[in-house]
Assembly symmetry: C2
Homo-oligomer: 645 residues x 2
């Protein structure tokens, strides 16, 4: 084991220094020629000039008769001109303009003398009631494209219409930049190919799949190499091979400064280490190096760190080779929903959900865990916290780079409140029947939902807040928190809450009191969640000392997370809903049926998203799906219980 | 020949009626399963649930030692706790948390007793100066994904991170919507495969290439069928085959009501014609039909009409099958730069250049010719003029659907003014050295450039306006048109103007006077162009009656268009610059050397685009390229001749 010194170079400095160093070492695009029909989305390697004009001949632009324009001069409605059959030629659209003609009269403007008809066109005289200007209804040579004109500059992506223009301009092969080859080498003794039944300790190798997809979206060709065990000589061998075959090589994992982390030494042995340790989070242990004219990037093992490193350091390399920017990545200002602290030492990248609520874009930070790949699935954008900033307060305006088109974000139902798997089912039903709408949900508990609505940051939120004084749900809370009104309490479902326990309940747990016994382990929900309030209430009611329950401060954010821990045997019980217990095949000790409502602020009521939500709540499809999940009772979902005006 | 009655159904009505009719006939997506690694960009066919949790075991999140958290309770800087070797286990990141442990102390926090070192870790006691909470530095089961959770709804595009999440969740195959198969049948006797040397009358078949690219970008698989001659039985046979193989069939050309236009009859023979004739321009003769559950669209032959029909009518079909919207197509409001009239009868789609000048988006209509495919290469967006509108005035706010990302448009140098091929060369040099910048040029003549600058609609424009009174260029015009200043006159080049004539000048043309002779044909530039002003000036000076020059009112918009017509023998002479004559190998009779300047309004001066332009003007690369083109003299390009303040 050896600790290496990692530097802390600013990200911008590292990237520009990296690019400059690569430039000196001959890191450059390769050119290749491809048939125009295969050039979609490729990037031009050189300016492209038209070889021929288009049209390449004077083409008749109408079905009709070709004439010498002079022959029609003077024709008016009152002084028609007759054209003899030898002075016109019948033409179709696209026909070459006949010699001696310089205009086409469209067939609709041709009149026949009494006794003649269209079947005789070409053999009988015709009458014109208007003159035609020279070159009228003729597509002249070069009308569209003049030979020698530049059709496209270099370093632009080829779109469908440009492919048509090239073919029209006599160009058959186009010089494009060869797709950068990006090699990806996964390393690690514990790393295995993905499977449906991994063993404990198996780390499934899905980073290559993510990284391949990313570089492919930017116009590069990924080359996925096999997993290499944690042996420096094997890693070195793999790196030498990849360097000889690729423009850019990503050496995944082993870039930190711990045990088995010898990547930088391997890179140094094969080529040079230019930077090791960047002032960014996640991604600090990244390595930037090269061998000959191939770039090497040491990518940290955690998927989130890896994704950020590849966005920040590999994307610029691909853009450098292509000489153009890659698609996506609009930058917007958004209002931060929750405070987000950061270290002065790093530039930090935080995944955020972004929603348009009222007139403002609201960014809600997602999990910052480096292993949480789903945070990228849920993320709508990346918020940047600059180096030398301690972070932001709730309400601050922050910079966000979007991962989805703004137009999609603007049509997203922002759900912030209590967790229930039914929110995902609602998302499915809304999107299925309204493809233009989507749902972005964040689970922060019932109280979090109320706070979000007060701040104008959600369209709806699930709440199931038991009022100890009255024994009723939600209404007293809404009364208290919305004294001036502005919110509707909408019926959703009744659901079974209880203790989730191992299948068959081998420990015979019947109540929270049973969990105070030595050796019993509980898993709880976070403060502010309705389920936590329920647990607290039951303990208080039954005179249970929560300090005597081991794990009472072990907090999870969703019913499914609690169920997963009980199933894994990490806890003996946790409070949660029946559907989660059923999903995991767990035992279930009912505690109560509770009322799960949706709060919908008035400002959101008329949005298409909320209207679609109300339709789904009232639908048979929703009812059927809730029955499948189990543990729910539906009365009149979608009904307004009370409008706090 | 037969004229069919075409209806004039409103576009919206036709599309929704078409979709409804197809729905009834079983037009629906097909589902298929693909390995996750091949699912990039595919669309989910069903909601996707996690099969296993991720992590699927309690994983150590740090290199260090695993302990029972209880064993560390009470440890502080002043009251350290010693942990014996039998009470801890050395672990690496990713290792399964050992039985009986519930926390990991990171290696950096482990202290050794005097005389022991890291090499003895695992066999010697260690000292901790802080306690660790249960589950500290442990990635618990389900931290990222809980088994049973919905990862994605149906009908969403699969992004790289989602592929990683699927693999992490034990999902190996994913149910996706089969890419809609879109068959494309080109028809027409005159239609030939594209070549570099087409014969007059050959219409090169590049529509299939454009249409294929378009549907591919939307997520469909194009199937290009061979060209079919204009014989109803052959077309019918091809259509029957395509219908049996595809979800959607595009029958290209032959959809108008002229000679050889029997498409609707063929569609009726194979299936049904639902609509023929839509109130849109271009694209009126489109046919919407079906056979069994396959959609058939009769697409007009002109590429521009075809593109519009496919965007308006085929894209909704693909979106219907995929159940989600296709990328792109932001809608913006823009200020119209030029008036644009339209018929009350149609909804009209006009291609526009869009530029951000100052704070406003400016839309400049491009050629509305149905055959002008380059108008789609140049277009940044499509302006819609509703049915029952007579069009718009200059300065009106209009609706534009963008074809490029807004961010790209905002970084585009808007050049509106006199044409010279050097503008394209400047575009190449600017983009090459500044990949984030591009150039959008529109050729409207020198006076058009002045008008655009007065209205705040361009960043720069080429001008070469000869003042008859003083014999100087540009300055008198700028003085007159910018009495309050606000513009800079920037030196660009001096260039040779003259008469372009056939190679070797077989007619011995020496001056404009020679063109008044019987049988000589001139081709002119449009009014307001500097070159037209030059021709007018020369005629006036030399006492030439312009009415005596045949073709003096035959106007083209660029030097290259004039050269192309002279080369084709459609005109015997045209006024233009030497470089255009050289490009076409034409003879050239010099008339004068003129001063071609750039006018740059003050509001544009500090933009990165104009600054990049000035750098390019002063560069050796620009000088070298101008020498290659020929006919230019460079003194100090980029120098400000005069700042009108």
């Amino acid at each position: 084991m050896a600790f290496e010194y990692l530097s802390n170079v600013a990200l911008d400095e590292a990237v520009s220094g990296f690019l400059a160093a690569l430039d000196e070492r001959g890191f450059a695009p390769r050119k290749e020629y491809v048939p125009v029909g295969e050039a979609l989305g490729r990037v031009t390697a050189e300016p492209l000039y038209a070889a021929i004009s288009a049209p390449h001949y004077h083409a008749c632009a109408m079905d009709g008769i070709a004439v010498a324009a002079k022959a029609t001069f003077g024709a008016t409605a009152t002084t028609p001109v007759t054209v003899q059959p030898e002075d016109y030629i019948v033409v179709d659209t696209g026909d070459p303009l006949p010699e001696s003609c310089d205009a086409v009269v469209m067939i609709e403007d041709v009149v026949f003398e009494e006794g003649h008809g269209i079947d005789e066109l070409g053999t009988c005289p015709v009458i014109l009631h208007a003159s035609i200007a020279p070159w009228g209804n003729v597509r002249q040579i070069g009308e569209d494209i003049c030979a020698g004109e530049m059709l496209l500059t270099s370093n632009v992506r080829i779109e469908p219409a440009a492919m048509g223009a090239m073919l029209a301009a006599g160009v058959q092969q186009v010089g494009v930049i060869a797709r950068p080859r990006v090699g990806i080498i996964p390393t690690g003794d514990e790393v295995v190919e993905p499977s449906a039944n991994p063993k404990p300790g198996d780390v499934m190798e899905f980073n290559s799949t993510i990284f391949s997809g990313m570089v492919r979206q930017w116009g590069a060709d990924p080359v996925a190499y096999p997993i290499v065990a944690d042996k420096p000589d094997l890693v070195q061998k793999a790196l030498v091979k990849a360097v000889s075959e690729c423009d850019i090589v990503l050496l995944n994992a082993g870039s930190s400064a711990g045990r088995d982390d010898y990547s930088s030494r391997v890179v140094a042995a094969v080529g040079e280490v230019l930077y090791h340790g960047i002032a960014m989070k996640p991604g600090k242990p990244a390595i930037l190096g090269c061998a000959a004219n191939t770039a090497i990037v040491g990518v940290p093992g955690y998927p989130v760190s890896g994704i950020i490193v590849i966005e920040q350091m590999v994307k610029p390399l691909i853009e450098k080779l292509l000489g153009c920017s890659t698609p996506g990545g609009d930058r917007v200002k958004a209002t931060l929903a929750r405070p987000c602290t950061s270290s002065l030492k790093y530039e930090e990248f935080v995944r955020v959900r972004v929603g348009k609520v009222g007139d403002k874009l609201v960014a809600t930070p997602l999990s910052r865990g480096a292993g949480v790949v789903t945070s990228f699935v849920k993320a709508d954008g990346i918020m940047t916290i600059p180096q030398n900033s301690e972070g932001y307060e709730a309400g601050d305006q922050v910079d966000v780079r979007l991962l989805r088109p703004l137009a999609d974000i603007e049509r997203s139902l922002v759900v912030i409140g209590s967790h229930d798997p039914l929110i995902d089912e609602i998302a499915q039903l809304i999107h299925k029947s309204n493809p233009e709408l989507s749902v972005a949900s964040t689970h922060v508990g019932s109280m979090g939902g109320i706070v979000a609505a007060k701040r104008g940051e959600n369209h709806c939120g699930g709440i199931h807040l038991l009022d100890e004084a009255t024994g009723t749900y939600n209404e007293p809370y809404l009364e208290k928190h919305f004294p001036k009104g502005g919110v509707r309490q909408v019926e959703c479902v009744y659901r079974q809450q209880g203790l989730m326990v191992a299948p068959g309940n081998p420990l015979g747990i019947q109540s929270l009191a049973d969990l105070t016994r030595e050796g019993r382990r509980f898993v709880n929900r976070q403060k502010g969640s309705g389920t936590r309030i329920l647990s607290d209430f039951v303990c208080k009611r039954d005179g249970i000392d929560t300090g005597a329950i081991y794990g009472y401060d072990h907090e999870e954010f969703t019913h499914t997370a609690v169920a997963a821990l009980v199933e894994a045997g990490s806890a003996d019980a946790g409070m949660g809903i029946y559907s989660a217990a059923k999903m995991y095949g767990l035992g279930f000790v009912p505690v109560c049926e509770e009322q799960y409502d949706l709060l919908i602020p008035d400002y959101a009521w008329d949005t298409p998203m909320v209207q679609a939500l109300l339709e789904v709540l009232a639908s048979d499809a929703f009812r059927a799906r809730m029955e499948e999940l189990g543990g729910y009772r539906l009365d009149h979902p979608g009904r307004v219980r009370r409008h706090f005006e």
